[in-house]
């Protein structure tokens, strides 16, 4: 199994763990992740306005370069995945954006959304299979009660993300089961952690992150897992109380015995 890999900026700095354990676990599972040459920042947020082209170009460059290499493009950061997946969707469906973006980029072959964009979780679920993953686990995390924190960006808008049922997702819970732990289902797992608002309105970020951890705690979670560095930051730094939060890849590496 060979994929192109888009780590994203944060994974090279503040979220090195997310990147490191992704690579380690992939290696242990026989998944080859080839880092895309010359990738650029995805832009961190998807530009929703129909006349925003320039802010989508860096994602399109990465998508086109994955297409040229002939592999599906794997991301692991929720924000990168959200932006790249939605830009790709635009390149499949919005003729105006396709035309203007291609005119601007002047690629050798114009890009029309050919690349398949996968989140690392989707690779584990759909390409490897959670049953197979469970077989490869060396140190099952038996007895740990883990709350899955999805956040917003992986799930919504569900029509474009096509990731999981946006109100009743199961992929992270299935993942938690595969690594031998017990998933804790709580209602705020798909509610906002505060996101970038931590810079604009700290009290709001505190309120949102606290609501998530409170809901998880009330349902008996010992810790949370997430795929997003900003979620991790908000839940760790902004939420009241002291709920441990990990990248899902860290626990994966632990279960596979490669941490």
């Amino acid at each position: 199994m060979v994929f192109s890999y888009f780590p994203g900026c944060t994974l090279k700095t503040k979220a090195k763990d997310l990147d490191l354990y992704t690579r380690k676990s992939a290696e242990a599972l026989g998944i080859t992740l080839e880092e895309l040459p010359d990738w650029q920042c995805c832009g961190a947020v998807y530009p929703q306005a129909k006349d925003e082209i320039a802010t989508k170009l860096s994602s399109i460059r990465s998508l086109a370069s994955a297409r040229d290499l002939g592999y599906s493009l794997v991301t692991v950061c929720s924000a990168c995945h959200h932006v790249i997946k939605r830009v790709n969707h635009d390149m499949q469906t919005d003729e105006d954006i396709v035309l203007r973006a291609n005119n601007y980029l002047q690629l050798d072959t114009p890009y029309h959304g050919e690349t398949k964009v996968l989140h690392y979780l989707e690779v584990l679920r759909d390409e490897l299979g959670f049953d197979e993953l469970a077989k490869r686990v060396k140190n099952p995390l038996t007895g740990r009660k883990i709350g899955a924190y999805y956040g917003c960006l992986l799930l919504r808008p569900s029509g474009e993300m096509q990731f999981d049922n946006p109100e009743k997702p199961t992929i992270l819970e299935d993942f938690i089961r595969a690594i031998g732990a017990e998933p804790v289902i709580y209602a705020n797992r798909n509610e906002c952690c505060g996101g970038y608002i931590t810079l604009e309105n700290k009290p709001l970020a505190v309120k949102k992150a606290s609501a998530v951890t409170a809901s998880a705690r009330a349902n008996g979670a010992d810790c949370l897992i997430t795929a997003c560095p900003l979620c991790l930051y908000n839940l760790k730094e902004n939420a009241e109380g002291d709920m441990p939060v990990y990248y899902f890849t860290e626990l994966l590496a632990e279960a596979l015995g490669v941490k």
Binding site: E167, K168, Y186, A187, N188, S215
Partner: protein
């Protein structure tokens, strides 16, 4: 060449004022084949009709053209006139020189010229007319009702009362449908079981009604008056005629952990069960998915305790073949699945329930014996939040674009009953609009607000978070423009209703049409609301669109009266203007079959003379004249020109085109 007579009507001055009727008669008299042409003041009058009749006899006419008003007005009149004179009624053609000529033109030469051309076209057509005889088909005097809910029961009772035998086919072990699960009915608050169960018994005891419970319609063939159905009686592993319904087996069965669908999974039943005390037929049924005996061959407790000896583990599905003259669809509805609405925490908390589940929790025969208790801990709830329009009026894929129609009223009912029985409760209803068109409906809703103190809040619930034994409800109050937070004990979701999942396959089987929401389409939305466009298929209840119990019963009665009208006839007259396949030209391609909206075309292998005195077997189309409605779609779809429509044949229309363009 036909001997044709032309009759030009003045219609008083209606035609004669702008059309020179004498000139028209004279001009048309010169057309080839015309042996007689005349004009008269009122052709439709007795004198005018006598004139036509006499002319037919006197001139031995083979075809008649009447230049007069629209055929929609008097075609039938003149056909009858011709028939009385011994001419086939379909040898009459009308040239519409009033509505489509004299009334729209002011200039006499222009109008006269056009009248002549219209007359010529009619003459050209009548030359190619062939005598047609309307066929007759016998009517089997028995009706089939698919679905045994209140709609099906009412329809069956009404048909049976008129003296015709009726079969009800119900897929569940008992008839009664959704209404059996309902506690009270709006706006009168009478008990649903008290008004429904007597009807169920009445149906069971009626000599004209046969009930096939735990059965499904496997196939339907035929056409109006002559349907042939195969009914599959699923094996219930209990002899229906032997079981006394004592219920001992359902108490002794060791398999206790089967979700009880009658209580929507809120409690458990045994593997052998009678859905509820008033079930009709009151016969036990073994659930093969849970019965240890059927699964592993070890157990047999029910057979041991059954003193009547009704248990039969070897029972197989049985098939019954029967003929019917009419079929009534009464397949009903289900609440939608709430998988995509988990923002309301339906799958996360047992205290979030659908309205139908809430009915069971309020029902004296329900899992809590009528005491409202929180499913999670059996405690008395104090704060209840009702959410309306869950999935209704929604354009997302997971929802339904229509209004489910019954939710506003049953929610008002639930809220009112809660406040009445438990005055210590706070009851909130979140609504987008409160829709209460119906007799005494709005008064009912207002009573909930004014007398019972139910809090109606215009807005929607956005999120329900189960936390520390409470349901934290986050919602909008649009009138005060606030986001409000309620710590509730129970949340009740008014889930949209959708047609039963069996509806689509039944529609396909019956060639009845459906809309995009899988509701059956009526023959005319205003004027034929209980008939399907397919002749002989009638609609009763929610299968046609959301409706409440009174409306369902009214429609059920209307459908029954249509069925009775049909079954009262010994024979059905068919429209003779139907399609016909020329078997020598047909290449068996199925193009016509695919476009036929009525399923009137079938294929069969027939022997034809081949070269050198051989016989060859070819697949050819044939049209069932009793089913064909004569639209002509097949005639155009046919690539070899084998399909033609009587009365509007290709050559006839071509002749009209030629006459007009000349």
């Amino acid at each position: 060449m036909q001997r044709i007579g032309v009759f030009v009507c003045w219609c008083g001055t209606n035609i004669a004022a702008t059309v020179d009727v004498k000139a028209v008669a004279e001009a048309l008299g010169k057309e080839p084949g015309v042996v007689f042409a005349t004009d008269y003041q009122y052709m439709c009058s007795q004198a005018g009709q006598d004139m036509i009749r006499d002319a037919i006899k006197e001139h031995n006419l083979g075809g008649v053209v009447i230049c007069s008003c629209s055929p929609r007005m008097h075609e039938t009149t003149f056909r009858k006139t011709a028939e009385k004179a011994g001419l086939n009624p379909y040898m009459v053609e009308i040239a519409n020189i009033r509505e489509q000529c004299s009334w729209i033109h002011k200039d006499m030469p222009t109008a006269t010229e056009k009248a002549v051309i219209l007359g010529r076209a009619a003459i050209a057509k009548v030359h190619l007319n062939a005598p047609l005889t309307a066929g007759e088909s016998p009517v089997t005097k028995r009706a089939l009702v698919i679905g045994g809910g209140i709609a099906g029961i009412q329809t069956a009772l009404d048909i049976a009362d008129a003296g015709f035998p009726v079969d009800i086919v119900e897929k569940k072990p008992t008839i009664g449908g959704k209404m059996t699960q309902i506690d009270k009915t709006f706006p009168t608050l009478d008990c649903a079981a008290c008004i429904l169960t007597p009807k169920m018994v009445e149906a069971a005891q009626n000599e004209n009604i046969r009930i096939f419970s735990y059965s499904e319609v496997d196939s339907v063939k035929g056409f109006v008056g002559n349907f042939h159905a195969t009914i599959r009686r699923k094996a219930r592993y209990v002899k229906e005629d032997v079981c006394t319904g004592c219920g001992l087996c359902t108490e002794k069965c060791p398999q206790k952990k089967v979700p009880n669908e009658f209580n929507l999974g809120l409690d458990n039943r045994r593997a052998i069960y009678i859905p509820f005390a008033q079930a009709v037929p009151k016969v036990a049924t073994i659930d093969p998915n849970y019965c240890t005996m059927l699964k592993s061959g070890k157990c047999g407790v029910c057979a041991k305790v059954c003193t009547a000896g009704a248990i039969d583990y070897k029972q197989k599905d049985e098939f019954i073949e029967e003929d019917y003259g009419a079929i009534v669809v009464a397949t009903g509805f289900n609440p939608i699945k709430l998988d995509r609405y988990d923002e309301y925490a339906y799958s996360q908390s047992p205290d979030v329930v659908t309205s139908l589940e809430f009915e069971r929790l309020m029902n004296a025969a329900g899992p809590t014996a009528g005491t409202l208790l929180r499913p999670s801990d059996g405690e008395h709830p104090h704060t209840l939040v009702f959410v309306q329009c869950v999935g209704s009026r929604e354009t997302r894929d997971c929802g339904k674009p229509y209004c489910s129609k019954i939710c506003c009223m049953y929610t008002a009912k639930h809220a009112m009953l809660c406040r009445e029985k438990y005055p210590d409760t706070e009851v909130y209803v979140f609504y987008i609009d409160v829709r209460t068109p119906g007799k005494n409906f709005d008064e009912f809703y207002r009573r909930a607000v004014e007398e019972y103190g139910v809090h109606y809040i215009k807005g929607m619930v956005g999120k329900v978070v189960p936390e520390n034994g409470k349901l934290k409800v986050q919602a909008s109050d649009l009138l005060s423009n606030e986001q409000i937070h309620i710590d509730a004990d129970m949340v009740i979701l008014a889930a949209a209703i959708e047609p039963d999942e069996s509806a689509r396959s039944i529609a396909t089987m019956l060639t009845a049409s459906m809309d995009t929401n899988d509701f059956f389409t009526e023959a005319h939305p205003k004027l034929r609301p209980v008939e399907s466009p397919t002749a002989g298929i009638f609609l009763s209840g929610v299968c046609q669109g959301p409706k409440d119990i009174p409306e369902t019963v009214a429609q059920a009665g209307a459908a029954a009266s249509k069925v009775i009208g049909l079954l009262a006839k010994d024979h059905l007259m068919c429209n003779p203007c139907v399609a016909e396949a020329n078997e020598l030209m047909c290449n068996g391609c199925s193009s016509c079959e695919k476009v036929c909206p009525y399923g009137a075309i079938t294929y069969s292998d027939k022997e034809f003379p081949g070269p050198n005195r051989t016989r060859v077997l070819r697949r050819v189309a044939s049209v069932n004249p009793a089913v064909c409605q004569g639209c002509g779609a097949c005639t155009v779809a046919c690539p070899s020109g084998a399909m033609d429509l009587k009365g509007f044949s290709t050559s006839q229309i071509m002749a009209e085109v030629d006459a007009i363009c000349k």
